[in-house]
Amino acid sequence: MIPEIGHYALMLALGLALIQGTMPLIGARTNDPVLMSMAVPTTLAHFAFVAIAFGALAVSYVTSDFSVLNVFENSNSAMPFIYRLTSIWGNHEGSMMLWVAILAVSGASVAAFGTNLPATLKAYALAVQAWIAAAFYLFILVTSNPFVRIADAPIEGQDLNPILQDPGLAFHPPMLYLGYVGFSIVFSFAIAALMEGHIDAAWARWVRPWILGAWMCLTLGIAGGSYWAYYELGWGGFWFWDPVENASLMPWLAGTALLHSAVVMEKRSALKVWTILLAILTFSLSLIGTFLVRSGVLTSVHAFATDPTRGIFILAILIVFIGGALALYAWRAPLLKQGGLFAPISREGALVFNNLFLTSACATVFVGTLYPLALESLTGDKISVGPPFFNSTFGPLFIPLMLMMPLGPLLGWKRGDLLGAAQRLLAAAMIAAVAIAAAFALEHGGPVLAPFGVGIAIFVMAGAVTDIAERTMILRVPFGAALRRAIGLPRSAWGTAFAHFGIGVTLLGIVGATAWGSERILEVKPGGTIDLAHYRLTFDGVFNRPGPNYHDMVGHFTVRRAGGGMIGTMEPTRRTFPARNESTTEAALMTRGASQLYLSLGDPGPDGSVAVRVYYKPFVLMIWLGAAVMFFGGGLSLSDRRLRIGAPRPARSRNAAAQAVQPAE
């Protein structure tokens, strides 16, 4: 009964979404307040029905109702409660349900909390949101129904893919989807602005929390996925330039550009047309990401299903939404009034620089990811574009970005003083130079470029500190006064500094782990030792350990300092799941400061020996720590007073305000 309720609720949600997508639209065009006001109740009702549908699926999973095909295929009653819950989205149908559930939550929060939005803008935005939702409901109902029943209910389920039986599944997909879907709201607002043919700085202020929130979730989602892959796949890599990873990186790059261009629009009313285009592109890349991952054109951990009808359906969604949005943009964008002039050397100029390099870097990832698909469908040649391609395209484009990053916040709006800003960064540059020298002195046998990587990372971090030091005048006024200034600083200024600092931290981690890491792959017999970096590992033997729905073969290793002192033990594991006759590698990690020892178990030999991979990864934790700092910075910015209180009503009339922002030539 419960799955049928869920199925029916989903159909009702589709119906409501269609009403939400048409009535307010007609209302906004004919200026009919009654039709426009239908947007809010239909959005809330449609959210309620999606919640019922998702809840029904959740109940089926938690109670292990194996008469539902989707539950039977992806769950098992022996699994711990948390995995029975997370396996809802550990498969194609369920993950689409998660997608639409988050979409409905976002739409409902615009409807419920966007009380200060102009009626027409709200009506348009919610209507666009409804069309996106409707397309996905149709997709689920036609090609990926999670509520299909089996006539003879089996006693036991087939279990979840072992790789997904991990806390990472509880965290990574929802965060990623929150990011993707958050950008859908920005997209809807952009389309609404195009339909209205009018856009102003207030628009930027309304969408900024959504951009920030989506960007924060995406940052954390990508970092979480990277850490998950790092410890679960047993190869010790944190980023593989795998197409599905790129699929999430592209919206992040475009979204980061959007975050910065929206600042220009909000403060200076400039870059309007560009910001709208970026909003469209960012969500388009999110959709393409969903397409790449879900349609099965790529083979990877994430390709749950390879059903061609789904691929064609998603392709149709892509063409309608991206093509439609870009066509509307081409038609309506000339209507948007240009505003806010600025000199090339200015805060705006620096943000344009940021946008140019971020979008170019995004374009190289896009080409590298999609070129193999395009080539195969055109000529039939199968190629793979691997890390070398991305390292030699993405890398060079990111270096100027990193070098310019500390400079931007120090430049003034409209007309900046490049020399002055550079002088203020002198201390940061000197610290970076010392770091480069120190890295050269301390390293033994890393790549020549690595110390410069460290230098750039330190420069970025010191630059963020400089920004705050300049704003609080900490070295020029008494400490108490500086403290008062620090408290008085807008939280968005702190947010910027933290986010930029986080980038430096991540960069330092990437450089450390890739340049100075060491690894050994070998076979050890019980009693044998492995020397790596300044550690000595002794293999004590293998024992078996049963688990709820798996059994483990555990290797026991004792870790000592090269000098002799014992530090601890490590227990890498091979985990076998009888329900699917599959096994996974559970790596053992030992954290030493920001560095990690990484041990994963390979095949056991006939004589009691095992194959092992041992890695020493210096500074590796900084990669994800940096992402957490970026998230924190985003959060600070999100809590900024001007966003919390909402957009103020312009005190002057619109005409007067428009004149005020027209700068003198």
Binding site: F357, S360, P396
Partner: protein, 158 residues
Amino acid sequence: MTRKQRRLILIGGGLGVLGIAVALMLNAFRDSIVFFNSPSDVVENHVGPGTRIRLGGLVKDGSIVRGNNLSVRFEVTDGKSEIPVSYQGVLPDLFREGQGVVAEGALNGGGIFDADTILAKHDETYMPKEVADALKKSGHWKDDYAQRAAMPIGSENK
């Protein structure tokens, strides 16, 4: 500066950065792309030693020979041709005889494929798409595989 000049600077800068990006990409495409080949492709197209390729097919039954220090030799077949492969390291969890495999590396002078990466992108019910296509092309596709691949469960892969 006039509005026009400023706009020109902006557009010029944009095109400049885009030009750099395109140049970087073209340069990278020239030397970092790896083609996928089946054993028959390698034989027919005379892929030379030293050219980096991905070799995909089935691990030939009875061909795995394990040596010292994690070295292993096996043959990759697509039913028509076979290529001997040598590899040193830990093999993926699901590396088995008769299963699909993708190896990345280059042929050495002696006609042996030195692999530095063995891809683990499959499980027992799934095989890499490239391998499936290559097998279909060479006529050695068994319906059995198709059935297994079409089963809704094991489409996940590793």
